[in-house]
Symmetry: C2
């Protein structure tokens, strides 16, 4: 066991496409620095965006955004949304865009699941703005729903790891939560 | 595409063991509702804990905590730390506990990677306290280090999915970040 400096090793994280409206147009940014804050209703999620991104102004303006979950199949398009800027590129042109209850949170039909959020708060940490969103509605493709729940194995989420600078797939289930540990209760 | 209500689908998330000191003793709680807030130095990470947990008072008191990353092999012990409460159970007895620079953030030798943090802020969202920690030091087992970086494939992180209520393994690399998308730049 050795110290390696304050290296963030909290990976993998789900890679997402964050949808915003800026200057009246939809835009999407690849974001994997995300978080689940609480567990309940309302449900709050976070996305951490460097202040230099084009998307930030759109969230401040509309006070809404989406978090869309691309599958592995959408890796190339997702990565493109991470390396191109909405200042110069119409990234939304890659996708079939739709809207739900929050009229300024564009979502993507090619993503099996998309969530629309209202901005609840903004934290400022270093050069990043952390947008805390309240989850308003979740949209799912029939193909990834089983008994009304999202089947993560059908979704095939695109996972991100900073150390390898790679996208990773999801593996197999390895055990049941709130159950496997009962073996240690003597 | 259909609305399924405000269902949090931001999974999988890395399952962690959060180490705290409470009443002078180390304790560990399984937490998968975590977040990466910014990207830089200082690095900030979040953990979301229901206010009913025993661990919360320990973090408030010591203003420190750890985030330890169990591998798949530690699934049973990790799950046990999610279903038992530190009020009644000495969960630290399961592990070889060590300390680093932050003297009140217990870490676990059986976890390939552990991070020690100082409490930076607390958000109150519903019945949850979201502890924002500043990363101070990261400890890694030689077995998961390659060229000084954490090899996520060697780490074998334990991933959590709420819909299936299962732990999942990591799959394979599927592409390179900030590279795969270049194919769409004409």
């Amino acid at each position: 066991m050795q110290p390696i400096g304050p290296v963030n090793a909290l990976y993998p994280m789900p890679t997402t496409l964050v949808g915003t409206t800026g200057n009246g147009k939809p835009n999407f940014l690849a974001v994997a620095h995300v978080g689940i804050l609480n567990h309940g209703t309302p449900q709050y999620l976070s996305i951490g965006l460097h202040q230099s991104h084009y998307s930030n102004a759109g969230i401040h303006e509309s006070r809404t955004f989406s978090i869309c979950l691309p599958s592995e199949e959408l890796m190339v398009q997702t990565d493109y949304c991470g390396i191109m800027t909405g200042k110069k590129t119409d990234k939304a042109a890659l996708f079939d865009v739709f809207y739900g209850e929050v009229e300024t949170a564009p979502m993507i039909r090619q993503c099996p699941v998309s969530m629309e959020l209202k901005m609840h708060d903004v934290l400022h940490l270093g050069e990043h703005e952390i947008f805390v969103g309240e989850l308003i509605q979740t949209w799912a493709d029939d193909a990834v729903l089983a008994d009304g729940k999202v089947d993560i194995n059908a979704l095939r989420p695109l996972l991100f790891d900073m150390a390898s600078i790679q996208y990773w797939s999801l593996g197999q289930p390895v055990g049941n939560c709130w159950s496997a540990g009962k073996a240690l209760k003597k």
